[in-house]
Amino acid sequence: MSMKQAELIEKIKQEEQNQAKKSVSLVVVGHVDAGKSTLMGRILYELGELSEKEKTANERGSQKVGKSSFALAWGLDALGDERDRGVTIDIATSHFDTANRAFTLLDAPGHQDFIPNMISGASQADLALLVVDASPGEFEAGFDRGGQTREHALLVRALGVRELIVGVNKMDVVEWSQDRFEDIQDSMRPFLQAAGFAQEKTMFVPVAAMAGVNLVHGDEPKLKSWYNGPTLVDILDKVEVPRRPIDTPLRYPISNVFKGQSAVSSGVGVSGRLCSGVVQVGERLRIVPGDETAVVRTIERDEETVPYASAGQNVNLYLAGIDPIHLNIGSVLCPLSDLVPLATKFTAQILVFDIAFPLIAGVPLELFHHSNNVPATLSKLISVIGKGTAAKQNPRVLQKGVQAEVEITLRAPTQSSNARAPVIPLEPAHINKEMGRILLRRGGETVAAGVVIAIDG
């Protein structure tokens, strides 16, 4: 019962206008141990997404291993290692509804070692919640050089997130001190502005995740004495929804491949977010890179099956007629008629971050693009666009803070010449914005972010 593509697009456009609840993806980021998972666990619980039964089970479980303060976080930290060590390792995806918005929640790890996972999550988000720890010394540890607060803010901005909410957590530890809240706000504002977040698009909200204050309800007398702003959920309920590129061809970067186990959703499943376009049940899609195709059997959104999905939505697709061996994290699903190009070498315009060592030709880097993470190198420095000065051709070196045009080449893993050249699916940003964003990291430090201008081979 599949519809023609054009009809479907028309129908979705109409629906979007009439729809009461608009869907938005939210990524939760911040320094390690700021309380991201706990905060989201608490919200899920208060909004009824996490059942009383699950909560009790987690409380009991965490108490048993002597980590009772992690009970709420266990709602999202499901891996054995995460629970043993009390730290989020991988992105947890969940969903919740407020009065006017339907949220897809991506809970990111804060630890420096797991930034690749955080990037994979943040590239699927419209909106970010940056959690900072208000307790004495902890905010400073997370915000000063070496802390993840800055890097995460820069990363989400580079990945296209324009709106940021700063959740100042653990306010109960500092007795709901207004001074502390304002101190934090004052030290972060200039940085966020420099990072590219507009003043009016950044909101600060004081919260206490463990006790559940000012998340859904704000009934703490000490807080009420000076704060009469909205609660966190109130802010979330009013966020702007970006325009979705549903007219452009489908691009669905795979962020997970798994085996479905329930009756409706058996077989090979993939999850991810539609960067652009629409997809419906029964459609045949091509997996890039590779020569394989698969048919969409079921589309699952927020644990319910739906007949179609459109750009901006996080969905699971269950596929038929494909061996899971051909599905890789980082591959892109696209329509047979309109494939995403593959690149080994491309030109990009990048902004170099505040780095300790300069970027020179040949420096080994890791290239991040959606859930892809591949070794790459700057093969040519084409030009530097200085602040207010004319472009300089063929620069020797890229210093911190400059904008530059560079040629990036993926690195083959072995020395032998006959190895296949690595490829990743990419598109220039003027054709598809979301498929054209890249991040470059070196040795655990994000060195640059940018957009693809042209694919060279």
Partner: protein, 372 residues
Amino acid sequence: MKLVKQSFEKDSSGFITIVPQDKEDLWQIYNLIQKNDEVKLSTHRNVKKGSGNKVERKVMTLRLLVEDIEYTPSDEVMRIRGKSMEPNEYVPLLSYHTAEVQLNKSFTLYKPEWDEISYGIVVKSCSIDEKAEVGAVVLEEGVAHLCLVADNMTVLRNKIEKLIPRKRRGEDGGGNHDKALDKFFDMVVKTILRNFDLDRLKAVIFASPGFTAQLLFDKLMATAVREENKTVIQNKSKFIIAHSLTGYLQGLEEVLRDGKVQSKLLDTKFAREAMVFEEFQRVLNEDDGRAWYGPEECAKAVEMGAVRYLLLTDTLFRSDDINTRKHYIKMSEDVRATGGEPLIFSSLHELGKQLDMLTGEAVLLNYPVDLE
């Protein structure tokens, strides 16, 4: 490498006879041989037998005028192509032949001119110091690189990739993820046991972001205990768990710079190179005119006598053009004469590859100079 015989004339022409013993020696020989040198070695050749089409494979010793050398580090093979210089009953003069250099077979190299660099390679690789070879596994969840690191080369032996499903809501205890991860570690452990000769290696480094390296080590030990693998248990102290910021090969560079790992390696050549290269990058970032790269810039700096460190890759010395090679040898000598230090990076190491991308030559100066 074993030096069997050497003989030089007054004009510094002459020959050496050596026996290569491992793949690193092959690499050294690759750096040693140039076009128009002559080699004498035992090789196989298919020879026509009688008048029919029957072909017989014969072993013989040939002396060849070198035209081309081919070396693939990952396969440990080196082939030399050239024209025969000493005819015998099967091979006429100037007939083409391609010979494979074999380990543990003697090999004679005639050069019209032995310079400081080439003789230095022979002396160094024949020194009796025990060679430090280290095994390394650089990994992150879902991808592992097994490599062998020697003084002059890093060889990637295996790359293991496995798709690890990410966690999903409603799967308590990780479910698919933990199962897949366990299987992945199993694959890595098996590959390690098959490819690493633990008795011979100086040390084995496991490096990863997060806890992955520790988990792999635990898995390896558990497997060894279960299978009663004595080799692993006896060599337990050789394993080093280190932290790297990536699971890709470039993570290795970071680990090898680490003091804890350094102390286990005999040779400190790599550490010194890493230190100088880091310093070079740092100075380049400050942009105070003390760090330069490129052929013209380097030549100018050497002329001024301002060089503290001259960084070159061995690729430059492998040039077919004698004059190019001489140019770099002279540069090295000049730097040494003015109190600087020339360093030659092996292009089989990560740093050498990076330097190669930077034109292959760079200088770090004593004082700022504008060379542009």
